[in-house]
């Protein structure tokens, strides 16, 4: 088994893309995230692991302010993207989300054509001057989503008609079409079969060359396969954060070790 084989051991220090400082999240009375500090590097895959309900998805959604849509959710602390506080009053979440793209747990293509799915983001952000421009953006995005060859002949067919794995890669293509700097993925493979999962994981590794990727996953094997950095969350706190190799082979905190060896979770 090479499940625990680590993709990239030669990790060199890269510049920080996102810095979270003392982040607390409350859902009404529930304290979901407790004083989390973390620095996410550029052009790196960072995995968030931890048992169900540990707050890793909540924290991920803080990074592009998707929690804003939930009325009772209250975020305090600072999250800096390129040294700018994304929770600053002057920040419009719409602009932020164009920079910080997101891929969701369940593939959620719009019930429109494949072309329109990818073109939607560039259209609303005015990235294309004309039709030819847009065609080019769509093709580039679909290529980066590693799905171009499969769909190039049926761009006018509905995106919902694709298989689960194709849908998820379409969603990734849709997310990269707006030229984001950070790509957030919330358990992107949990609804996929093993083959589709392998394809998406391969894609994530390619995406690392351009974007800073943050991935929430339930599968420790997946975290080990795709990420360079791993953060372990437990009961709303960030227990341990470090190089993936180090987290999986030589964790500092006993809770991390318990989780990895399957004693908590």
């Amino acid at each position: 088994m090479n499940d625990m084989q680590f993709t990239d051991r030669a990790v060199d220090q890269k510049e920080t893309k996102i810095a979270a400082q003392g982040v607390n999240v409350h859902y009404g009375d529930a304290h979901a995230i407790k004083d989390v500090n973390v620095e996410i590097e550029d052009k790196t895959v960072t995995a968030f692991i931890g048992p169900s309900g540990c707050g890793k998805s909540t924290f991920l959604r803080c990074l592009n302010r998707m929690n804003d849509t939930i009325d009772i959710c209250n975020v305090t602390g600072n999250i800096l993207l390129d040294n700018e506080d994304i929770y600053d009053k002057r920040v419009d979440p719409v602009q932020l989300r164009a920079k910080v793209g997101m891929v969701f747990q369940k593939p959620n293509p719009f019930p429109k054509t494949i072309y329109d799915n990818v073109a939607y983001g560039p259209r609303i952000h005015g990235l294309a001057k004309n039709k030819a421009d847009l065609d080019e953006i769509v093709e580039k995005a679909l290529r980066r989503g590693a799905i171009w060859d499969e769909v190039k002949d049926r761009l006018d067919k509905p995106g919902t008609g694709l298989s689960g794995g194709q849908q998820q890669r379409l969603c990734i293509a849709r997310a990269v079409a707006t030229e984001p700097e950070v790509l957030l993925m919330d358990e992107p493979c949990s609804a996929l079969d093993p083959i589709a999962t392998a394809q998406v994981e391969e894609l994530i590794d390619e995406l690392r060359t351009r974007y800073s990727v943050v991935i929430v996953t339930h599968s420790m094997q997946q975290a080990a396969r795709v990420s360079q950095k791993t953060a372990f969350f437990h009961l709303g706190t960030l227990v341990e954060f470090g190089h993936t190799g180090q987290i999986f082979t030589n964790p500092e905190d006993p809770r991390t070790e318990s989780y990895i060896t399957g004693r908590i979770g």
Binding site: N64, M66, F104, N108, P111
Partner: protein, 441 residues
């Protein structure tokens, strides 16, 4: 562990038997309930159609009228003003003579006086003749073939509503006249044929049920539906989108939500009296106008539209909103580009059903006086259609059902058939739209 013998799968335990019996009983109840429902529907529909189809057929009498110059244009100069001075009363002898001539021509022996001979025609025949003469003054002096409505008793006799035994005290018809009618039917002078005027025409006075039609009331109903569609749809959809997608969830919005649901259950007559107090007494809008009727029905339809629109919006999976927000769409873009198109079939269905409800509503219209007796022609302009007094289909049906002459009763049933055709069409449209635009995700 008990040491009882092992139970066989082939034998049913008492408990299983009991449960199976209960299930069978319940299925029987269900079938019975459906059967009763279907039976009632069948009775209703056959009843309506057996009573109402008569209204679509009318009895006509074909006679040749000699347009005597001596009666219609004494001066002989064909001056329209002079011709118009001759009232319908002046046309009576012409009509009478035309029937007498027809009877003589056919060689029918009868003791009836000329007045009674003319009496088999509708009282509206004179009006029809006068209109023709005013429109074609050059025809004066000629003899022209006319197709007049027979009076309602003759019509009833042909439809089996009027019998010889039942006309003892009826001043409008006598047994001798019925004998004549029989002979004229044999001669092909009196025929029953399809009556387009019932569908397109206006209401008629108590004396002439044979001439009454539902067409103008239909226009009144249509104008009201325009008002309802034009107001209730945008207001209802805007309110629903705001409440569902934008409004904060707090006590105030909870109260609003409960009140909208309650509004849907308010009896329609309450909306009627509200309309009377606000639109007519306070705002001084014209009585009996389709505009006012439309406003009242809008109030009634709004809750229906809001509730169905919100249900349609709720049914759109949140993942679609997430997807749109995730690529940087604003809240409004997410709603208008993605959520609303997906909810559209549901919204349309709700709207059409709301409109169908409003179309059949009678009580509020009675209160705002939308039962005007409109014997005139259809309104010519849109503004006229909205502001001029009019009736509406259900109100017209109610009016007819109230009148003493059984000939109107038949027309009430006929009106119900037309109303039902409209409602069934609208509901079918709703189903088709829902099927066509239904999307899966």
């Amino acid at each position: 562990m008990s040491d009882t013998s092992k139970t066989s799968l082939l034998a049913l335990s008492p408990r299983t038997k009991q449960r199976n019996a209960a299930e069978k009983r319940f299925r029987a109840y269900g079938v019975a309930a459906i059967a009763i429902g279907l039976l009632m529907l069948t009775v209703l529909v056959t009843n309506i159609f057996s009573r109402g189809t008569g209204a679509f057929q009318q009895t006509f009498v074909t006679v040749n009228v000699e347009l005597l110059e001596s009666k219609l244009d004494k001066k002989g100069n064909r001056d329209l003003e002079d011709i118009k001075k001759v009232t319908t009363f002046g046309y009576n002898p012409l009509i009478r003579d035309s029937v007498v001539a027809k009877v003589e021509e056919l060689g029918i022996q009868t003791d009836l006086k000329a007045k009674d001979l003319g009496g088999i025609l509708s009282k509206g025949a004179v009006g029809q003749l006068r209109e023709f003469v005013i429109a074609n003054p050059d025809k004066i002096g000629e003899t022209i073939e006319f197709r007049f409505l027979a009076q309602s008793r003759v019509d009833g006799y042909l439809k089996g509503r009027v019998h010889r035994e039942s006309i003892g005290n009826d001043k409008s018809i006598s047994a001798e006249q019925l004998d004549l009618v029989d002979q004229l039917v044999d001669a092909g002078v009196i025929v029953k044929s399809f009556n387009m005027d019932f569908i397109t025409g206006a209401d008629a006075s108590d004396q002439r049920p044979e001439a009454a039609g539902i067409g103008v009331a239909m226009l009144g109903s249509l104008s009201m539906m325009f008002v309802v569609l034009g107001l209730a749809l945008p207001i209802g959809v805007a309110a629903s989108i705001y409440l569902e997608e934008f409004a904060p969830k707090n006590r105030l919005t909870d109260i609003i939500e409960v009140n909208i649901s309650n509004l849907a259950a308010v009896p329609s007559i309450v909306f009627g009296i509200l309309g009377l107090a606000v639109f007519i007494n306070y705002m001084h809008l014209p009585t009996s106008a389709p505009l006012v009727g439309g406003l009242v029905l809008t109030l009634m339809t709004l809750p229906t539209i809001i509730i169905s629109t919100r249900a349609a919006l709720k049914a759109v999976p949140p993942s679609i909103r997430d997807a749109a927000l995730g690529v940087g769409a604003s809240k409004m873009q997410a709603v208008f580009h993605h959520v609303l198109p997906l909810a559209a079939p549901g919204i349309l269905t709700g709207t059409i059903i709301g409109l169908a409800q409003a179309l059949g509503e009678t009580a509020p219209l009675l209160l705002i006086g939308m039962v005007g007796f409109i014997a005139s022609n259809a309104p010519e302009t849109l503004a006229d259609g909205l502001l001029a007094p009019n009736s509406a289909m259900p109100a017209q049906i109610y009016e007819w059902a109230k009148r003493a002459d059984p000939a109107f009763y038949e027309r009430a049933w006929g009106g119900i058939i037309i109303l039902l055709v409209f409602l069934v069409t609208m509901n079918t449209l709703a189903v088709i739209l829902r099927r066509r635009f239904e999307r899966r995700w």
